[in-house]
Amino acid sequence: MQIDTYDPGDFYDELFEGVGTPRSQAAPLINRIKSLSIDELQQRQAAAQSALFKLGATFNVYSDNQGTERILPFDIIPRVVSAPDWEWLERGLKQRIRALNLFLDDIYNDQNILKDGVIPAEIIQSSKGFLEPCKGFSPPHGIWCHITGTDLVRDRDGQWYVLEDNLRCPSGVSYVLENRRVMKTTFPLVFNQLPIMPVDDYPSQLLETLLNLAPSGLPDPTVVVMTPGTYNSAYFEHSFLAQQMGIELVEGRDLVVADGYLQMRTTKGLQRVDVVYRRIDDDFLDPQAFRSDSMLGVPGLMEVYRQGRVALANAPGTGVADDKVIYAYVPKMVEYYLNEEQIIPNVPTYLCWEPADQAYVLDHLDELVVKAANESGGYGMLIGPHATEEERAAFAEKISAQPRNYIAQPTLTLSRVPTLVGDRFEGCHVDLRPYILYGKEIYVSPGGFTRVALRKGSLVVNSSQGGGGKDTWVIANPSQSPSQQQSQS
């Protein structure tokens, strides 16, 4: 099937308005695809995959001790985001991060939002991500979430929603950078015709964000990336980011608390570390403060952190806002802290601990998606319309037993992008994860990681569940200065 007979069907398609009518921002891309034969496209697809493998953009397969690495399946048909859409999304994401950050600072200090009754206190108290040891702490410049990867989705009518906030250790940004590098060689002509916003300055922006956290008065602060180690599935990304920023990649065993500071073991003795971009979870950071069985962390780290002698990004404790019950209160947070109306809406969410909501959810399980409040990666989830009677019954029991731990949302029909499957184009469902950095200012990397559900008809885009990736092209606004546009390559 050629691209001009591709049928978007009864879905919102990111590239087509209807059969044979590309959206205006995607037209040069579709023209180029039309000019290539399926054979040629398949060859370019294979070349792109093998380039990614050579670049080492791989993730580990947990269950395999042969040291097998796989690349995330990559599709060469990009997703294109129009300039007005992006301008709106960027404003919305900045607003959301500002509100979430004020919320985090508030609940670990004055808790005004609880005192004013906007969010019930017991919801915070019962959240797994709420860390008692962080109470009374104020991180440098009052910023808690320095690196965020917000998941966005689009429903059948094209409406954007925020699905998840991911304020802990969002991964995937290395794919954005590597996919772009590969796409420039896949469709060089289209890059010449479209003002695609560049993504290459992410590592520089990230480094600036991290340097901004260093205790003041240090002429040359030491910034490191901290990884759980080579067996972590995102190890490639940790190593890649350290390399791109030119900083050390450390493991817990490289670090030690000595003389009141965090130090790393070097061939010339201990050396002080000032800022840690940690890619390990809160629970594992410091066995003295959190999980005592953690072999990955550094004993005493939290004490040094509390004294302001080392900065951590993200700050411990941000996970409380990843709780899907607390997510439901973000619109209220925006109103409470910013006195604004939320720009990008939440997906409507039913809270099972509220009796009316729970009754509705139990009545409509076959229409809803039910999610555990504190799971991620597509785990602990029921997709009502696709589930069996037994699966729904099992979830109904879980909901009644632990209502606080479950929320439900209507089943969205995620938007689609044509995807090269074998020798034909098929519409596959996608989401979008832009990366937001909160340093001196808030920076949103243009585009983000488009995850695509490669299993036919599947709505689950997680890499652990058969998902793949696509490049995301944000078309620059003509009014933006040329320096912000794609360098022609």
Partner: protein, 316 residues
């Protein structure tokens, strides 16, 4: 540089060099067996004896012959020092320092590992070019590292790893010859003996270089060449000189003066070889001397570990 990173680069190079030298061990014995008179079987047990783990071998293989010894030293993943195990460890070390080494180094060590892994599921005949390929892949790795990685602190740790490993293995290869000679001392000086020494030189790629220097093959001169020669890159003394050079590049201290236990231990060993003659070595006994050298090299390795890779535990 992080201690862990320095240690990984050190071991990455040691393991690659170790894999190469095991291939050389096997190669010399295969060559010798081709030259043996008919009816005289080449001995394979000395390879097991010098490689270290005799009881493991006995338990899992029983008799030492060409098949069992090749399987054991090349592909046995239960044995830590088989070629395949070494490359697996080399690759793991490389993977943990990928952001420090060049991508070409990573690619080469990865390809090297894959090549041996693929070979492990086929059967290796004793005449296959496999052992030569292992040798060349190791040279390629060293060349790639030399040509693509900055000659910085990490590079010098790698160089030390490779040179210490090579010195140790050259000592062991010489020692194998000593074992092989033992049962028939009456062969000393016969044409068969000559052939064996030539095979030995070839196994360390030293035959041509030796000829240019000495012309005539004599056991004493071959031993002297492999121990004391300052210019041949696989002789023990050459390796010690290179290790010392890299060590002083790392510490910034000048040669001939020591500031830490590694410099002292290594300097002692190297300067001893500066002034020893082969006659003195023979008087000590070649086997005894080589044994002592291996012990000293071990001790240098331990000092490197203590000085650079571990720090005293800190109490808070």
């Amino acid at each position: 540089m992080l201690s862990r990173v320095a240690e990984s680069i050190f071991w990455l190079n040691r393991y690659v060099e170790r894999a190469e030298n095991i291939a050389r061990f096997i190669d010399v014995n295969l060559n010798l067996s081709l030259d043996s008179p008919l009816g005289v079987d080449q001995q394979w047990s000395p390879l097991v004896n010098t490689s270290g783990d005799q009881s493991f071998f006995k338990e899992h293989y029983g008799e030492a012959n060409v098949e069992t010894v090749i399987q054991f030293l090349t592909f046995d993943t239960r044995y830590r020092n088989s070629i395949l195990s070494c490359l697996k460890l080399a690759r793991e070390n490389a993977r943990s320092v990928r952001e420090i080494i060049s991508s070409e180094m990573w690619e080469q060590v990865n390809d090297f590992y894959m090549m041996v892994k693929d070979a492990s599921v086929t059967s290796i005949s004793e005449y296959s070019p496999f052992f030569n390929e292992v040798k060349m892949a190791s040279h390629l790795f060293a060349g790639v590292m030399n040509a693509t990685m900055s000659h910085n602190e990490g590079w010098h740790f790698g160089e030390m790893g490779r040179m210490i490993e090579r010195a140790d293995k050259t000592a062991r290869i010489l020692d194998v010859k000593y074992y092989i000679l033992l049962p028939s001392p009456r062969d000393v000086g016969t044409p068969l003996d000559d052939l064996q020494w030539i095979a030995l030189l070839k196994s360390v790629s030293g035959y041509e270089m030796y000829r240019k220097r000495q012309h005539r093959i004599s056991p004493q001169e071959v031993a002297s060449f492999l121990i004391l020669e300052r210019e041949f890159p696989r002789s023990i003394q050459f390796c010690l000189l290179q290790t010392e050079r890299s060590l002083h590049c790392i510490t910034g201290g000048s040669q001939g003066v020591w500031q830490n236990p590694v410099e002292r231990e290594l300097g002692k060993l190297r300067s001893e070889l500066d002034y020893l003659t082969i006659e003195e070595i023979t008087k000590i006994g070649l086997h005894e001397f080589l044994d002592q050298t291996e012990i000293s090299l071990n001790s240098v390795g331990e000092r490197i570990f203590e000085t650079f890779f571990t720090l005293e535990p800190v109490h808070v």
